[in-house]
Assembly symmetry: C2
Homo-oligomer: 309 residues x 2
Amino acid sequence: MNTKDRGILVVGSVALDSVKTPFGGIKNALGGSATYFSTAASYFSDVKLVAVVGKDFSQKHMDFLRKRKIDISGLQIKNGKTFRWKGYYEYDLNNAHTLETHLNVFADFKPDMPENYRNSKYVFLGNIDPDLQLIVLKQVKSPKIIGCDTMNYWIEGKYNSLKKTIKHVDILIINEAEAREFAKEKNLVAASRKIMSWGPPYLVVKRGEYGALLFAGAHIFFAPAYPLEEVIDPTGAGDSFAGGFMGYLASHTEKLDIEHLKRAVVFGSVMASFNVESFSTEKLGNLTKSQIIKRFMEFKKLTHFEMLK
Amino acid sequence: MNTKDRGILVVGSVALDSVKTPFGGIKNALGGSATYFSTAASYFSDVKLVAVVGKDFSQKHMDFLRKRKIDISGLQIKNGKTFRWKGYYEYDLNNAHTLETHLNVFADFKPDMPENYRNSKYVFLGNIDPDLQLIVLKQVKSPKIIGCDTMNYWIEGKYNSLKKTIKHVDILIINEAEAREFAKEKNLVAASRKIMSWGPPYLVVKRGEYGALLFAGAHIFFAPAYPLEEVIDPTGAGDSFAGGFMGYLASHTEKLDIEHLKRAVVFGSVMASFNVESFSTEKLGNLTKSQIIKRFMEFKKLTHFEMLK
């Protein structure tokens, strides 16, 4: 949580989400992978956002991003409507059911970055077309640490492009089912080894309410999800995880080593846990640093045990 | 791993299992909840087994139990056949598909214990009719620590009996789905609080390949499952977990405190991880203490992180 780094560049979606869960709902609320990522990362590091919205994107949402000190000079505003997603969750909050997806201006998104973005040392390639991820990467002069997300849609539709992109990536952060699908391996450990053989030296596998696994060479590290008595809306949990993870790395290290990576996984889990406690960015966007540190400490209590006496 | 305790009394099933998984299969192999529990616990403590088998139960299986120094003077041998289960797993090893269940002599099981069993200080009520669990409990003179397992069948069919039994129990060890069903609560933390309000001060929730959670007052502790590159057969994993858990407690403490309980959860996870590496008790029954300690240490590496500097 210092500002010696030159910030994280993140590319992804900024969206307007309509979500229903058994605990309530919201309409056209601020969402999107880059929004959740940026908000979570903003507690740790400077963040430079690359995304696109339509003319309908409200001043209120702009103000929210600015208030979190997120650099939005790379946020394109195009004629047309902002990307919209409509979905719901039943009591099983692990499964999002999509009702409507309107890509709108996001369909023709061409990442083109302001000059000051190109010196970023930390880059996070949010879940977009892997060809676009590569275009973004080529615009950054000398990145130190590159993280990357993806999804089943690209694994199925752009398999070769994705394999090309991840060759340049230090840390791939994906869901468990996606890891299995990408590697065509049922066993998660075997799947992870296979994906790492394709390029990324580090792999983080997100397991929703079951936590996250870090694979780093022969080392495996595991952090649970924080056990909450009330989960309101899981939308954006994975992106908030990635934001906390990359934010911690950007503010604390230029070199990837296992101890920093472990703490980054825990800070990712911390930010994801806050995110699911409200709709949209209501809770995630209004935290204090001491709340974050307190929950980090609680993760230690949750997993540490003393050795035999 | 000392013998100062007076051993664990366990009641449950001894069965002959026929199992197929994508990695092979076995026919009429030694199985059953009390078998897996006893085998796992036998590395830590003396074990006294209460169960029933038929005349078809082979000398080879008896010899196996004796070799593990399990006291089988409470193993009844009745006219008829031993309890048999036939099932298979697909690539998703979390779900057992039952093909056949023949209770055989287990249908009329009446636990009746040898005199020397009645002084046991540690009792584990394996997954049987909660009315029988209570009968067992009444035969033990002054138990110190009582653990208990159950399943959806009893939750649905003997709800009130089960609620009566768990009033006497220190630690209830059940699956995640069963915890939700028993409490009629979707959220696991809320479900656990509710179950604990019915009696047991400690609750362990088993989550299969996602590990186990311990609830102890306001404290929650989490241990992952050991990430294995090859899982051969998950049958008995939960029972092996319970065996390692109770075995550790029996050999190390007469009082339940959070540090002992945490270590017990980790030893439970250790024993479950060995169990799934082979069919039946092939691997679980042939371990050395140093293998067990080594894997315990690996769990520390898997979950511990250093605090902020």
